[in-house]
């Protein structure tokens, strides 16, 4: 893969990469479209990265379907599908990790303390292997987008990071490979997440600027669902991820949340430009 990418670079091809964990849905395919608009050669990586899962998490049951993924990737216009083995990515004696000192420790980082270390490490490896000019990630994983954008800048990767909008089911549920875990009842209850984000947007439009009041309205809406267990609902600066107490005019706020339904943990978010 690395030799192929080096050769493509020497031929002045512009390389776009879309890193994924597979089990592709319309969200992933929208990332491919964003990559195709910005490059001559689109590489999709498909790797269920063990280092971003904690021992208690769902690595072993994470959904996989390489045959279907290959077909979807090809029909979306992916030129190269790169599917390394875990033993190739993390050989015996593997010792080097990338950490986000502050941005990776808040929000998701409080509940998944080693998650972003795994994400940044594998993304840096995939960047070095595929040598892209542009890389596309989804806004659905808002904090991941922030830490990867910061890493690309901090470590001077010289790669343009594109964050593509979240793609939703027609009922509003943010697309995620993990949605297949949900029972029909849980799926119905999980619609409260996108509705709560809509509620937040609406009350901000109507003039509410107190973050705690907005979070309270969202919490009230979500806790009406009997199986919802809230990990967090937060309103932060969209780049620094620092909590905002008041929404200042002109600021862009990130409203993000993580909620568990049974064994399934869902995240969702929205960016709000404060008027």
């Amino acid at each position: 893969m690395q030799e192929f990418a080096s050769a493509a670079r020497l031929q002045q091809k512009r390389i776009g990469v879309v890193p994924t964990m597979g089990y592709l849905h319309k969200g992933h395919l929208s990332l491919v479209r964003a990559a195709k608009e910005r490059s001559d050669l689109v590489i999709m990586t498909l790797f269920v990265n063990p280092t971003q899962f904690a021992p208690t998490e769902d690595l072993s049951r994470y959904p996989r379907d390489l045959t279907r993924d290959s077909e979807l990737a090809a029909s979306a216009g992916v030129d190269v599908l790169f599917t390394p083995a875990a033993e190739e990515m993390y050989p015996s004696g593997y010792d080097t990790y990338i950490i986000s000192e502050r941005l990776g420790t808040v929000l998701e980082g409080e509940f998944r303390p080693t998650h972003f270390r795994g994400v940044l490490t594998v993304v840096a490896k995939l960047f070095n292997i595929t040598q892209p000019h542009v890389a596309v990630f989804g806004q659905k994983d808002a904090q991941q987008a922030v830490v990867i954008t910061r890493m690309a800048r901090d470590l001077n990767f010289g790669i343009e990071i594109i964050i593509a909008p979240t793609v939703r089911e027609s009922d509003g549920l943010a697309m995620s490979s993990r949605n297949v875990y949900l029972s029909p009842t849980e799926h119905t209850q999980a619609l409260a997440l996108s509705r709560s984000l809509k509620i937040a947007e609406d009350i901000i439009t109507r003039g509410e600027r107190d973050a705690q009041k907005i979070i309270s309205s969202m919490t009230a809406h979500i806790t009406r669902e009997p199986d919802a267990k809230i990990d967090y609902i937060a309103i932060t600066d969209h780049e620094k991820l620092e909590p905002l107490a008041k929404l200042q005019s002109g600021a862009t706020a990130l409203i993000s949340l993580a909620v568990r339904f049974g064994k399934t943990r869902l995240i969702d978010n929205t960016l709000v430009k404060v008027g």
Copy 2:
């Protein structure tokens, strides 16, 4: 610098990089020669990297002489001298670091717990900025050579790492920019370090295989110097840096040490192929 390196790569130039903290001596110049043998374009980076110094260490008094360094680099055949500012390398909000989980915590890592995190971070940044095919480091910093070689492999940098032999003063003292800190008396006492490594090599040649006995002989030799304070003397595997109790035939052992004389901390080492 990054644009220049990208353009050189498109012209199929083979890039060699020699990362340094400046205050050049013959050791650095030997690294330049090693780089010139393996590349068309030699970039030397000169950056006194704040993140590899602890607050208690010698960052502010680290010796600097850019005028002399520029002349020495040019006469050694360096094509580009890259001297970034600290604010450019670590701008406001900087958040991303590279760690060596195990290799960076032993030996030097026990005495300088954040040192290799700083080293790996800056080296990865310099790799991304200068885009070398080959990078040259000195064996003098033995553990640094190991963790950087491991990082280049772990993070798939696709860069050949060359480790050039330690260059010594005629009296045996390993060349180091920090040698200027030594008073004449301390310099004389510090010669015990290279002598102790020679003693170790000699007794291994004569058949000694018990690491503790070898370390004891070295300790006895060094502690004869009234100002010597030993941080460690260790015999380890040369790649895994795990302590060796017995020197097995065919193994390559790294004998390394750190000793303080007044405020100056010196390191030295030798690689011994066990017969």
